[in-house]
């Protein structure tokens, strides 16, 4: 069965510092991976996806993610965090039928 794990419930970062939100996956076959963000009282917004090709994927709001097949990871990164990046982040893998399988979510808190 396919699964996604986000090992950290919460990540705290100072504004201006780099941030990483971790995600590991377990799939049979090629993984199709996604990151979504949920701001307070809002729906999930798509950030970026990995389907094939370059292992470094660039997305919205300056975020990027690195696909690592040997470590089965798809960590979300940003070189310089903003207070406005504070939100709930979800990693997901798409299964063969099209549905998304989500991780538990990671609460990112960026302090000034």
């Amino acid at each position: 069965a396919q699964s996604v794990a986000q090992p950290e419930d919460q990540v705290n970062v100072a504004e201006g510092n780099p941030l990483t939100v971790k995600c590991t996956y377990s799939v049979s076959g090629n993984p199709y991976l996604f990151w979504y963000v949920q701001y307070p009282n809002r729906g999930l917004q798509f950030l970026l996806k990995y389907i094939t090709g370059d292992n470094l994927v660039k997305g919205s709001y300056g975020f990027e993610a690195e696909f690592n097949k040997s470590q089965t990871s798809f960590h979300l990164k940003k070189p310089s965090a903003l207070v406005s990046d504070s939100a709930l982040y979800f990693c997901a893998v798409r299964d063969a039928g099209g549905k998304l399988i989500f991780g538990q979510g990671t609460e990112l808190s960026v302090k000034p």
Binding site: G43, L44, Q45, R94, G98, I101, F102, Q104, G105
Partner: protein
């Protein structure tokens, strides 16, 4: 272009009552998905429509949940009778039929509280 909309945004009902959630996908999107996040846990899949047909309903928890998508446009998710464990946030998402690896566009969710 209007995004995915959901109604109501919040619903508070008593155990045993009936609630109907509505989702309007992005116009032209054939794929419509329902998901649920319970008690701060992971978001879990409920079911998937392609146009008006149920493609996958493997995530529906039990027969108290009924989803419809008449005419292949908006969808409703009815919970009857509601139980305490049904409380959570119900998300709807849509995506175009073509482009199997397109991202899904999510609505703002309906927060359901069963007392």
């Amino acid at each position: 272009e209007a995004g995915v909309t959901q109604f109501p945004s919040h619903s508070v009902i008593e155990k045993g009552q009936t609630v109907t959630l509505r989702c309007d996908p992005i116009s032209g999107h054939d794929n419509l998905y329902w998901y649920r996040r319970v008690m701060g846990k992971e978001i879990k899949f409920l079911l998937h429509f392609v146009k008006e047909s149920k493609q996958d309903e493997s995530g529906m928890p039990n027969n108290r949940f009924l989803a419809e998508r008449t005419g292949g446009t908006y969808s409703t998710l009815k919970v009857q009778p509601a139980e305490l464990e049904d409380s959570g946030v119900y998300f709807c998402a849509s995506s175009p039929y073509r482009g199997a690896y397109n991202e899904q566009f999510f609505g703002p969710g309906t927060r359901l509280t069963v007392l």
